[in-house]
Amino acid sequence: MSKRLAVIAASMLILVGAMSLKSAVTSKDSGAVLMANGSAPTPPSPWK
């Protein structure tokens, strides 16, 4: 049980870290969208 809790706690910690990193990277948000799959040309976002 403690191992499972440790896994969930670690997952949440990673999530917090990732969201902090995202906040740091997007702190000067210019409205750009991060798309990270493939080499197709990125269209303008229709909902920004």
Binding site: K3, R4, V7, I8, A10, S11, M12, I14, L15, G17, A18, M19, L21, K22, V25, T26, S27, K28, D29, S30, A32, V33, L34, M35, A36, N37, G38, S39, A40, P41, T42, P43, P44, S45, P46, W47
Partner: protein
């Protein structure tokens, strides 16, 4: 409309993605890295459909934009599964696969909930905003997970060269995108340059993975660093 250069980069990227699957089949590594190959095959299919839509409806059409962003979200989820399968591969000898799966599910659910909480405040296009948000959030989760996996590889003294190459290329790929994105936000005036760089970065991962399958045999091992002997 995209220029000739963008079409060329797109074609090269798609060919490299197909190349990864071909190399993996040739080296009999398709099933071992199933999710990785499925991801690359999906990239090729998505590229083909995107091209078809682009030709029919145009670059600025809503159809292309919606298909692009929705398919990107699905591909990011697949990339997350790739990362999870790489974790399973690294932790296989510790019999920790069950915990890796549990962690992946918890992380995915947490990211989905967080993304929903962010977009909940908007009244329109909730689903589309959610798709975009979860795609972006999973990307940052993936970035962090890759470096944690790299640390685990170092700690466990993993020596499988191909596996290390696959993980490291993923780390470089994520980092290049993050750097490009951060610079684009910092210098909005030079956005055109960073937008051109985006597809070029997209070609890096299939190239590095194709190289890993083609050049590095499964049994290749990295020689551990020599121990320094100091006289007493």
């Amino acid at each position: 409309m995209p220029g000739t250069m963008q079409y060329v980069v797109w074609l090269v990227g798609a060919l490299l993605e197909a190349g990864v699957v071909v190399c993996a089949i040739k080296r009999k590594a398709f099933r071992r890295y199933l999710f990785l190959n499925l991801y690359m095959a999906s990239e090729v299919v998505a590229s083909a459909i995107r091209f078809e839509i682009l030709q029919h409806y145009g670059f600025t059409s809503l159809t292309y934009a919606y298909f692009y962003y929705y398919s990107d979200a699905l591909l990011t989820i697949l990339l997350f599964l790739v990362l999870s399968s790489l974790y399973s591969e690294v932790f296989r000898e510790l019999n920790a696969e069950r915990y890796v799966q549990m962690g992946s599910v918890a992380l995915f659910a947490g990211t989905a909930l967080f993304s929903f909480a962010v977009v909940e405040q908007f009244s329109d296009k909730l689903l589309s905003r959610f798709v975009l948000e979860i795609s972006q959030n999973l990307y940052f989760v993936g970035l962090l997970l890759t470096y944690i996996l790299w640390a685990a590889i170092l700690k466990l003294r993993e020596t499988r060269t191909r596996l290390i190459q696959l993980v490291l290329s993923l780390g470089v790929y994520f980092s290049l995108y993050a750097a490009n994105y951060a610079l684009r936000n910092l210098y909005p005036s030079a956005e055109a340059l960073f937008t051109v760089l985006n597809p070029l970065i997209g070609c890096f991962l299939p190239f590095a993975w194709a190289y890993a399958f083609w050049k590095l045999p499964e049994e290749a091992r990295l020689a551990p660093a020599g121990l320094a002997v100091t006289p007493r």
